[in-house]
């Protein structure tokens, strides 16, 4: 009985972890296996536009405001409004387009799985085997 309770607690703890973590995911063909926080910031601000093998980086974002979005950008050391202004500046200077923003985390997983060079972020619990995880970040308390 004790073993059963411990197992149950471990499962609940694991599930809680999966919900409290943000996974940075990429298309399976992306050669990188891990990214530093600084590299992530470079990709999500459009400073770096291609992977090491020259495949263009396709950044996918989440639409509107959400806990996971704010938490992810806060972990990168930047606010989502600052990210918006960085991309607006790039757009108006002819340096690049803002990332496509998708409605739901499921949409992000699907699009990353089907788009070579794609990178996005979702709750860890949403990740499936069709994408690869490049980094796990703990959700920031907002």
């Amino acid at each position: 009985m004790k073993i059963l309770i411990i197992l149950l607690l471990l499962i609940i703890a694991g599930a809680t972890d999966a919900f409290s973590q943000v996974a940075v995911i990429a298309h399976r063909a992306v050669q990188a296996d891990t990214l530093t926080q600084s590299q992530l910031l470079d990709y999500f601000t459009g400073d770096i536009k291609s992977w090491a093998d020259k495949t263009p980086v396709v950044v996918l974002d989440l639409k509107g405001q959400s806990e996971i979005k704010d938490s992810f950008y806060k972990r990168l050391g930047i606010t989502s409004s600052r990210i918006k202004s960085i991309w607006l500046k790039k757009l108006l200077l002819g340096e690049g387009d803002a990332p496509e923003a998708l409605k739901s985390e499921d949409d992000v997983v699907k699009r990353v799985a089907s788009t070579p060079g794609a990178i996005g972020y979702v709750s860890r619990s949403k990740v499936n085997s069709e994408v690869k995880i490049l980094r796990i970040v703990e959700k920031e308390k907002l």
Partner: protein
């Protein structure tokens, strides 16, 4: 005739199949832009004379097309101050027409008419959605062109630019070097083709910067030669006994420094510009200085408040000197991403000295709507 047709066919085939064209086009032609509509209440002090004015302060229309993965073409049409050729209002400019090539982050090339980077604001001075201001810091406010020689403070145009950044641990070293016309552009049809440089000199300039996390700083400089020979027929040449040959090529150096940061909800930016003319005459001095500093606070994702101070010091020895100081504060509120409301108050103090000392102040109250489409 047949040989000619074959030659054309082979040439066309060669062009279509050449590596540059065989890379597929990345995008369709994209058209977008922005405009800012404002309402200004200006009150002269102490006379209390006031005027109210609505205007389309700025409208820019961009055309952009990614020609290949690495090449992008970009056109910027600009309309200022409720432009109307029929009513003789405002101005219309072909502000930019360039093609850029991106080899790597360290090396990018931009060819064609462009606004060069200089300090914080020059490159984005007309991108009104990026600025919280309605009236921009003095050296960047095109509507002050009649009060201040704004194109003497900052380079307005360049034609070739090499730029990029070099990663250095967590920091990035930004570099930009550009070449353009000297400022001596002919606008008199009787003196030949208009819109071309009437001298054999160029503008050379650049910016070196360092970006580290949310801090950014840089130094900028330009070097060009001014043709002051139009002064030859004025009293200045006689009074100062200035040789005409010396007036034809007066070296000018602009030096600038900029700094900006974002820390938590606070942000700030400041810059300084010094313009010197190497005229070699102790009694002739048209050197200039400009400074601005802004401190802002983001109350929320939508609301931003700021206070700012701007100053110019312009010499026109031996005629006059002009000092302008502007104290101002404002707010911007984003209704949504592409629609921002702005408000600004500015107290402007202008002081002229030397032969005819004169001082006057005025207040500006402005409201604006900034729209990206």
């Amino acid at each position: 005739m047949i040989r000619f047709k074959i030659a054309i066919f082979i040439t066309a085939l060669a062009i279509c199949c050449s590596p540059a064209w065989s890379q597929t086009t990345d995008s369709d032609l994209k058209m977008f832009g922005y405009f800012q509509v404002s309402l200004t209440h200006q009150k002269d002090l102490p006379s209390e004379n006031a005027v109210n004015s609505f205007q389309v302060q700025q409208l820019n229309i961009f055309l952009q097309k990614n020609l290949t993965t690495n090449w992008t073409a970009f056109i910027n049409f600009e309309f200022l101050n409720s432009y109307s050729s029929f009513r003789n209002w405002g101005a219309h400019n072909l502000e930019e027409a360039w093609v850029s090539y991106r080899r790597s982050n360290q090396f990018k090339l931009k060819l064609g008419l462009q606004v060069p980077p200089f300090n914080n604001l020059n490159e984005i001075k007309n991108r009104t959605p990026l600025l919280p201001y309605i009236i921009r810091p003095l050296a960047y406010e095109s509507s002050f062109n009649e009060i201040i020689a704004i194109e003497e403070f900052v380079p307005a145009r360049a034609f070739v630019q090499i730029y990029g950044f070099i990663p250095w641990d967590k920091a990035k070293v930004e570099h930009a070097f550009f070449i353009g016309n000297s400022p001596n552009i002919n606008n008199d049809p009787e003196r030949g083709q208009t819109g071309v440089d009437s001298t054999n000199t160029f503008l050379f300039g650049g910016r070196l910067g360092l970006r580290f996390l949310n801090f950014k700083a840089g130094v900028s400089a330009t070097f060009d030669d001014l043709d002051f020979s139009f002064l030859a027929d004025t009293f200045l040449a006689d009074t100062l006994n200035y040789p005409l040959t010396r007036l034809r090529k007066v070296p000018r150096i602009r030096l600038g420094g900029d700094f900006s940061f974002n820390v938590g909800k606070f942000s700030g930016e400041a810059e300084i510009i010094r313009v010197t003319y190497d005229d070699d005459h102790p009694d002739f001095n048209v050197d200039k200085e400009f400074f601005y500093g802004t401190l802002g606070y983001s109350f929320s994702e939508k609301l931003f408040l700021y206070g700012s101070y701007w100053a110019t010091r312009e010499n026109y020895h031996p005629v006059t000197d002009q000092d302008i100081d502007v104290f101002n504060g404002g707010a911007s509120f984003a209704l949504f991403d592409s629609l921002v409301l702005k408000a600004q108050y500015a107290r402007v103090k202008i002081a002229n000295s030397r032969q005819v000392p004169h001082e006057f102040d005025f207040d500006y109250y402005t409201l604006a709507l900034s729209v990206v489409f």
